[in-house]
C-alpha cells in the first residue's frame, strides 16, 4: 500500500488509542460506588469531565494545526486520523461523565452541541470517503474546467446548427442554451436541482412565445427529435440529426457538471455545520464549566 487513508494511518494507531481511552473511561466509571449520583460530582466524574474538556479543546486545535504550514508537530494526516478516532471516543467519555442525565439546561445544551458536532463529523467522514472516487470517475480523467470548455464548445456548435434550422427550432435550441442553469443556491447545488427553461413558439403562428421547463435538457431534445420525422429535405434531416447528437452530448456534459457540483458541494458543506457548531460548543462548554463551579 502506498497511499493510506486517514483511517488506516499508521495501521490505525489512533483507533487503539480511542479504544483504550473508552475502555479506561468505562473502567473508571465502574469504580464509582456509594450514595452519590454517578455524574460529574464524583472524583471519577470530575476526571472524565476534565479529560472530555481537554479533548474538545485539542480536537478544535486541528483547525490551527491545519494552517500551521511549517509545523513539525506530526503531519496533518496524523492529526486528522487522531481527530476522527478520539473525537468518536469523546462520545463515550462525555456520556459517562454526565451519566446520561439530561434536562433542559445549559449542561445538556453543551452535550447536545457536542453530539451534533460529532455526528456532522461522521457525515463529513462519509463524504470524504465516498465522494472523491465518484468525482474522479465522473470527470473521467479531466477537470471541471475541461468539462466547461467542452460545454462551451457544444453551445457554440448547437447555436451554429440552430441558426440553419427553421425559426421555431432555432428559438427553442438557442433559448435552451441561454436559459440553462447550473448551480445556484446551496440547496440547488447540494441536490443538483435543475431550473433550466426554454422558450417555445406557440402552435399557431404569430401567437407569441411561452417559457417552459427544460429540466435535464429533455424538452429541447424532444423538440428537435419531434421535428426529425417531419423533415422535408434530406439536408434538413441531416441537420436535425446532427443537432440531436450535439444536444445529447450536451445533456451528458451538463449531468456530469451538475453531479460534480453536487459531490464537491457536499465535500465542503458539512464543514459549514461542523465548524460553527464547534464554536458554539466551545462557548457552551465554557458556560457549563463556569456554572458548575459557581453552583457547586
Amino acid at each position: 500500500m502506498i497511499h493510506q487513508s486517514l483511517l488506516r494511518y499508521r495501521g490505525g494507531r489512533y483507533l487503539w488509542w480511542a479504544v483504550g481511552l473508552s475502555l479506561g473511561s468505562v473502567a473508571l466509571y465502574a469504580t464509582q460506588g456509594g450514595l452519590q449520583r454517578h455524574n460529574g460530582g464524583t472524583w471519577q466524574g470530575y476526571t472524565l469531565g476534565t479529560v472530555g474538556a481537554l479533548l474538545i479543546a485539542w480536537l478544535a486545535l486541528l483547525g490551527i494545526r491545519k494552517r500551521s504550514y511549517s509545523s513539525t508537530l506530526g503531519t496533518v494526516q496524523g492529526w486528522a486520523s487522531a481527530h476522527v478516532y478520539l473525537g468518536t471516543a469523546l462520545l463515550v467519555v462525555a456520556t459517562l461523565h454526565c451519566s446520561a442525565e439530561f434536562g433542559w439546561n445549559v449542561h445538556t445544551l453543551a452535550y447536545v452541541l457536542m453530539a451534533a458536532v460529532i455526528v456532522s463529523g461522521f457525515v463529513g467522514l462519509y463524504v470524504y470517503f465516498s465522494n472523491p472516487s465518484v468525482i474522479s470517475e465522473n470527470r473521467s480523467g479531466g477537470s471541471r474546467g475541461a468539462l466547461f470548455a467542452e460545454l462551451f464548445d457544444l453551445d457554440a456548435r448547437a447555436r451554429e446548427l440552430a441558426d440553419r434550422c427553421d425559426p421555431d427550432t432555432g428559438l427553442a435550441v438557442k433559448s435552451s442554451i441561454e436559459r440553462t442553469v447550473l448551480g445556484g443556491g446551496v440547496l440547488k447545488q447540494l441536490f443538483a436541482l435543475d431550473d433550466s427553461r426554454l422558450m417555445l413558439a406557440e402552435a399557431a403562428a404569430g401567437q407569441g412565445t411561452r417559457l417552459v421547463s427544460n429540466t435535464d435538457q429533455q424538452t429541447a431534445i424532444d423538440w428537435v427529435a419531434k421535428r426529425l420525422p417531419r423533415a422535408e429535405k434530406r439536408a434538413e434531416a441531416e441537420l436535425l440529426q446532427a443537432l440531436v447528437g450535439v444536444l445529447c452530448r450536451r445533456q451528458m456534459i451538463l449531468r456530469r457538471l451538475r453531479r460534480d457540483i453536487r459531490l464537491n458541494g457536499w465535500l465542503r458543506a458539512w464543514l459549514y455545520i461542523h465548524v460553527p457548531l464547534t464554536i458554539a460548543l466551545l462557548a457552551a462548554l465554557l458556560v457549563h464549566i463556569v456554572v458548575t463551579f459557581i453552583y457547586w
Binding site: I2, S71, P132
Partner: protein, 855 residues
Amino acid sequence: MRRIDNNDSVTDLYRIAIVGAGPAGLSAAGRAAQLDRAAGRQTPSYILLEGFEAPAKTIQRYQKRKHVMDEPGFLDLRSDVRFAAGARETILDAWSQDISRLGIHVRYGTEVAQVQGQKGAFVIRLSDGTTLRSEHVVLAIGLEGNPRKLGAPGEQLPGIQYQLDDPREYSGETILVVGAGDSAIENALALAEQNTVWIINRGKEFSRAKDANLNAIIAAINDKRRRVTCAYESRIVRIVANPSGPPLGVSLQTPAGEQAVNCHRVIARLGSEPPRKFVESVGIRFPNQRSDAIPELSQLYESNVPGIYIIGSLAGYPLIKQAMNQGHDVVEYIHGNPIKPADYGLLELQFKGLADERDPEEHLERFRSLTPMFRELNALAFRELIVESEISVAYADGPAYLEARRTMEAVRAALASRARPPRNTRVIREGDVIYEPGDFGTSFFTIVNGEVRLESAGTPRITTRLSRGEFFGELSLLSGRPRTERAIAGPGCVLVETPRRTMIKLMSSNEELRRGIDWIFVVRELQRHFAPYATPRELRGLAAKVGVRQFKAGDTLFREGETADSLFVLRSGNVALSRGQEPGSIVVAQIPAGQLIGEMALMGDPQRRETARATVASEALEVKRSEFLALTGREDASRESLQRGASRRAIDNARMAVRPEAGAVMNFLMNEGLGEATNVLVIDEALCVGCDNCEKACAETHGGVSRLDREAGATFARIHIPISCRHCEQPHCMKDCPPNAIRRSESGEVYIDDTCIGCGNCQTNCPYDVIRMEYAAPPKPGLLSWLLLGRGSGPGEEPDPRPAESAKAKGKKAMKCDACLGVKSGPACVTACPTGAAIRIGPERYVDLVEERRT
C-alpha cells in the same frame, strides 16, 4: 606596426575592427576610445560595426521595463562603459550616453559580409558594398544571428518586417505572417485580435510548434468567427508596392496555383541564421559539428586565425558582465598591454588555501601540467574551469590543518560583507568523506595531487585508490543518478570539483575531453556490473569495443522475438519493457538508468522476450557476447549476482505480464515522463477531497507563490500527476541557465537560487510546464494585523495578487518546486494533506503504486 595617420588614402585602415555593438563590442570600443584619447589621437584607430540601427540589439528587444541582472555577483565589472543591474531602459540610456561621452566611432546598419586577409591586413567587406581594412578583428556578434530573409523579390519594401514588438500597435490591417514555428503562430494569434491575418506555411502542417500553439492555431483557422486564414504548402513568390489600396501586393505560390493577396504588412518569422557559417567563412575552426560547439581560443581570446579575436556569448560567455570585461581586456591585449585578467583576484582566492604559496598564474599552469586530461584544454577553457570549480585541499589533522583553516576563515570573514562572496579554497581533513552513496551531486572531481579512496556501496566492499591525474564522479555527471560509492579524501589530496554545467560545456567543445570521460565511464560501469576486481588497465581493450548508443524518446532498443547476442547497460534515461504486439502490448517493467537490459540473451535465452523502448531520451552501452564472455570469464567476475539479478527480473516481468491493468498504469506513468523523475508528487484521486491545502501549504512555505497546480495534470485509474516539479535525473531546466542558478542539492532537490536573472530559458526548456515566471508576492501580514486591521491575506488564503512596486522593479523570476529543501517536516504539500492523498515518491516505488491498484 604600421602607422595610421590622417592621410585620406588610408583613413579606412584601422588598428581594430570590432564587429557587433552588443555589451562585448561596446566595451571593447569604449576601451579603444579611451586608449586613443590617452595617446592624444585625433582620429579613431578602431571602428565599431553594427548591422542593426542601434546598439545592443538583443537587449533592445527585451520587453519594456525588463529588469536586467548583473550576474555573476562575485565578478567585478571592468569597462569604460557603465553597467549595473536595472531596468532595460536605464541600461540602454547609460550605454547611449557613454557612446557619446566616449565618442565611440560606430557605424550602424552595416553588416559584415566577408573578412579576408591576415593579421595586420584584413579586408572587411560590408553589406552596403564598401570595404575597409583593419589590422585586427574582434568578433563580438553574439549567438542570436540575423533573421532569415524571405528570399523573394520585393523583400526590401517598407512594411516587411522580421519581428513584432507589440501586436496591439496594428489594427484593421491585413497582415501576412510567414512561418510555421512558435513565434509565427504566436504573432499570428496575437495580431488576429484586431487584424485580418494570413499565415503562410511552407509545409502541410505545423509540425515544429509546441502542442499548445498547434492546437490554438488549428482552432483559430477552423473558427469561422476569427479572421485567420492559413495557406498551406505555400510561399511568397514576389512582393510589389501597390499604387492604391493596401500598400503591398503579394503573389503566393499555392498548390492551386498562383494567388494574389493585398496586404498592409508582411511579418516573416523564419528563424535566424546561426552565426556559425559566417564565423567559419572567416577561417575559424570549431572543434566539432555540435550546435553548441565553441571555437578554440587562446588565453588572449585569439582564435586559430591570428589577428581575429572572439569575445562574448560566441566565445561561450553568455553573461553581460563577462562579455564587457572581455571587451575591455581584448583591446588591451591587442595594444600589447599585459594586464591581469579581471578574474585574477578570483583565482587568487581559489588557490589561497594551498600549502605552497605561488602566483595564481603559476598555480594554474601547474594544475594543468599535473593532469593529463586538463592538458587537452586550451588555456582559456582551463582558466574558466578553475574559476567555476570548487578547490578542496586535504591536510593531515594537526597544526598545518588548523593553520590553513584559520587562513581561509579569515579570508571568508573579509569577504562576508560582499553580497555574493567569490569561491575560495575549501580546507578539509584527510579521511573526510567527500560524498556518500545515494547523495545527489552532478559535479565532477579531478585529482590534482595526493590520493582519493572510492569504496563501493554493496557487499563485498571494494576499495579503489585513485591518484594524481585521475578523476571520479563521472557517473553522476553523465547519468544524473545519485552517487553509487563513497569517496574519501586521502593523504595530501588536492581536488578540483567542477559543476556539471561547466563540464558539459567543456565536453561539447573538446573532443578529447569527451572521449576521456566517456571511456572511464564505460570502464567503471563494466567493473560495477561484471568484473569488480578488474583494473582499468585490464579493461582498456574491452572498453574500447563497447559502444555508447543514443536513443530518442520512443526509439526501440530491441524487439520481442528477435534473436540477440548483446545486452545493454542503461547509462541515462529510462527504458520500458513490454510484451505483446501493439496495440494491446503490456508494459512489464521500467528500467531506470544504471541497470542492465536484455542480459538474458547472453545467459541462456537468446530470444528477446520483451520489446525495449526508451521512454525519454536515453543512452546505453551495448555489450556484445564476446566482451561479455571475456568479462565474466575472469576468475573474480560477479557471475552469481548477475544470474540472481536476471532470475529475479524474469519473475518480476512475468508477474507483471499477467496483470495488464498494472501494466496500463505503468504505461501511463511512463507517458507522463516519470521515467526520468526522481521525486514526483502523486495524488490518489480516491482520497483527494479537493481542499487545496497542498497548494496553500506550498504558497505559505514559498513566499506566497504556489509552485504546484493540483487540478492541472493528467489522471489515469485515479492516479493524478499534478503539475509540479518531478526533479528529473538530468533536469532539462538546467540546460542553459546563464547564471547557473538552477542547482541540485545533495539530497536530490532541484532548486533555483537567488541569482536567477529571469530570462525564462528554464521555463521554455521544461517539458512538464512546472516552472512559472512570477513577481515576488507581497509579504503576508501578521495574524493580528490581518484579523484586526484587514491587511493583506490571512493564513491559507490566496495571496494578494498585486505585486509590490519593488517586486515589479526586480522583474519576474523563475519559480519552481524545491521539494521543500531545508524544511524540517518535509514537503509541505505532503505533510499538509489531511487525507493522505498526496505523496511524493521516487521511481523505485512505482511498482508499489501499481501493486496497490490490484486491490
